[in-house]
Structure formats: C-alpha cells, structure tokens
Symmetry: C2
Subunit: 233 residues, 2 copies
C-alpha cells in the first residue's frame, strides 16, 4: 500500500542527485547568470572541460539544464527560471541549517550586505535619487543577460581604467553573481583603496528577481557568437 510511491520518490531523487555535487551546484549558479558554453563553464568552475561535460550531462538528465548547438559550441542554459529559484532555496536552507556554512559566509559576508525587502526598495530609491551608484562587476555577457535596473556594467578587470568616470562624492554599491562570488568583494577593496565609500551587496540577479523586483536585460540575450554575423534584436 505504501510501496506504490517509490517510483515517485525516485523521480524526486533525480532532481536531488542533480544538486548532490558541489561542482554541479556551482555550474547551476553560473548558469543562473545566463547561458554559457561548456568551456566557459569549466573555466569558471575550475574543472576540466570533460568533467564539466559529464556533470552537465547529469544535470541534463535531471532536466535542470538544456543545451543548444550554435556552430561548434554547445550552449547550456537553465531549463527554467524555477531552477534558479530552487538553487536559491537550497542556499537559504543551507545557511539556516549548517553552522559550518555560517562560518564560511561570515568570512565573506560582512555586515550590511544581506538585504531585506525594504533594503532593496530603498536601494532602488537612493539610486533614483542619485545618492548611490550601483556597479555590476560581472562579465559583460552576464550583465546583458540580466541585471539590476539602473546598474552600470563595469566588469572587474576594467574597473581601474574606468575609475575616473566615477564620482567620488557618491556611495558605490557593487554586486556580482551572488553571495559566494568574490568579484564584488574585490571591487569594493579596490574602490576603498582609491578613497571611495564603497560596499557590496550579497544579492545576485536571481536573488533580486526572487525578491519580486524587476530585472533588466539588454538587446543581446543569447551569448555572443564568435562569428561575424551580428545578432540583431
């Protein structure tokens, strides 16, 4: 009588197995920033291309990601926005449940980085009022795939050169892929060294989106081709 459900739980476990490996969660986190090729993913996750391909196969089997072919590249993307939300839910649960996690995050995450709903709306307001400048320090492609409205795209490697176009009298808020992405941290360190009032926020685009706030996206939604043909609209 209670046996009939095993196959159902087996299906649920398929998804569970998808998020049962650190590398796979990392890949999902990266894909939440927008679609990417296998090589990019492998590079950003710090694993071999072959290994990345194997993990992506598992994720595809669990229907968490999908891929399409563009020229000789396989471009992967999350199968659904709900997948990103699920990863956020996993992250939140882990932060609640695991003391070890709290230690880790305490290292990274300083004081006011963690936003409440009110904080987020206030940030938008202050941005509109011209009090703060919000910098998206991820790669350009990631910015284009989705960013906080009003944020300016300044990929970390270019930050130094761009500094002189950033007024010193405003507070600078940097964000990147999410709480575990070090980019915004580095940006803040650099900015402070140069005399800015700067802070990072914990949010990535998914967190922002999950909080019910709008996300803006640039014309080119899909990853840039390496070929000549320009992708209009």
């Amino acid at each position: 009588m209670t046996d009939a459900h095993l196959p159902v739980y087996e299906q649920l476990a398929r998804i569970g197995k998808g998020v049962a490996s650190a590398h796979r969660i990392h890949l999902l986190d990266l894909l939440a920033q927008g679609e990417k090729t296998v090589e990019t993913l492998a590079g950003e996750a710090g694993i071999s291309v072959k290994n990345a391909s194997a993990h992506l196969k598992v994720l595809r089997g669990a229907r968490l990601v999908e891929s399409r072919k563009d020229a000789q590249f396989s471009i992967y993307r999350l199968a659904d926005a709900a997948v990103a939300s699920f990863v956020v839910a996993l992250r939140n649960l882990a932060e609640n449940r695991l003391a070890e996690m709290r230690e880790f995050t305490a290292e990274f995450l300083a004081n006011r980085e963690r936003l409440t709903a009110v904080d987020r709306r206030r940030l938008l307001q202050r941005m509109r009022d011209g009090e703060v400048i919000v910098l998206d320090v991820r790669a350009t492609a990631e910015y284009e795939a989705g960013h906080i409205p009003g944020a300016r795209s300044v990929p970390l490697p270019q930050l130094e050169q761009v500094l002189r176009t950033i007024p010193k009298d405003k507070e600078i808020i940097a964000y990147c892929r999410g709480p575990y992405c070090g980019l915004s941290e580095q940006a803040v360190a650099l900015l402070r060294r140069r005399g800015y009032r700067a802070a990072r926020i914990h949010d990535g685009v998914i967190d922002w989106h999950d909080a019910g706030l709008p996300v803006e996206r640039s014309r080119r939604t899909r990853t840039e081709r390496h070929t000549k043909r320009s992708v209009a609209s």
Copy 2:
C-alpha cells in the same frame, strides 16, 4: 580567484546529498507529518530498520533532521519547518521539470485535486458554511501533530465503522499526507462505493501551511509514549 568558493558549494552539496536518495526523501515526507520513531519510519517507508537508521544518520549529518531519546526510542523530527518547505519546493520543481513525473502524477492525481490559493480559501469557506466535510484520513498521531482547521480525524482503517456518523447530503473531501500518499484515494473510493459525493485533495499539511493558511494542532504535539505518564498541556 574562483577557487575560494568550492568549500561553500561543498556545504550546499551536503544538503543536496540529503535529498539525493528516494528513501531519504520519503523519510522526510513522512517526518513532515510529525515526529516518528525509527521503526515507524522504516515500516511506513517500506525499508529495514537498519537501513532507515543509516539514512537517518545521513539526514542528521546534513542537519535536515534531529532526534531525541524518549525511553528506549529514538524519535526523529524535521530540524526545521523550512526543511518541509524545501521538500515541497523540490516536489514542485520535479513536477514542472520531469515529464515522467507528470505521467505518474496523472495516474494518481485526477482532475480537481490540485488546489490554487483561491480553491483553498473557498474550501475553508464552504467548510464553515457546512457545505462540505473535510476528513483527515491519516493516523491519529499525525492529525494531532498538525491538521487543516475544521477537519475531522478519521484514520482510514476506521472509516468504515464511522460511516454512519457522516451525513450523505454533504460533499466529503479527504486529504492525507500529500500528493503521493494513497490514503485519501482509498478513502474516496470507499466513500463513493457507499454513495457519497467524495473527492480528495492533493494537499498535505505542509502544502497547506506553505500556502500561508493556518494549521491546527492538538494538545499532544509529541508522539505518544507507551508508558503510563500522561503528557498534560
């Protein structure tokens, strides 16, 4: 630069591994009904006590469940209500993502079993108006640990005897542990055979709670002791 995060993802994967096995998800689902002993869990999940104990150890390692000792029994419970919500999120994601899942659920889940927020509020209203009777057909202990307010506890094995106290002119709605629990299905089958207008709803108590609706609980929150000492308050 991107390496520093691996330990964080490792921690997330600990939770992921918790839900990477069908048996473990089943155990979590059962624990969402209230705390239970190892033997009960093993019996309800259809696995050996030793195996259940091993799986529970994994879940404890992932901080998803906790246990306490009562007399010679180890009594397990979810570490947090957020764990139940996470399992619901997993279930929902699976139903969205996995076609195979949809087939399974199509077998079980007929037409109107799936509730929207409006449905749930309307059900409460109709219950208050005396139009429908809602039956909780789970075990008594599960009912006591939390149930839909206004629902009547009629454990499935007792349904037959209790039938004459149930008026035939009202619609009967049965629910049990959740979408994959067959109890309410069987209850509906029996009721219809006896000439009732009966239907099941997909919701378990967690779904109900996750939908933001109140859950009622009886005096005895913790599992009944086998000893004499009665648990007041």
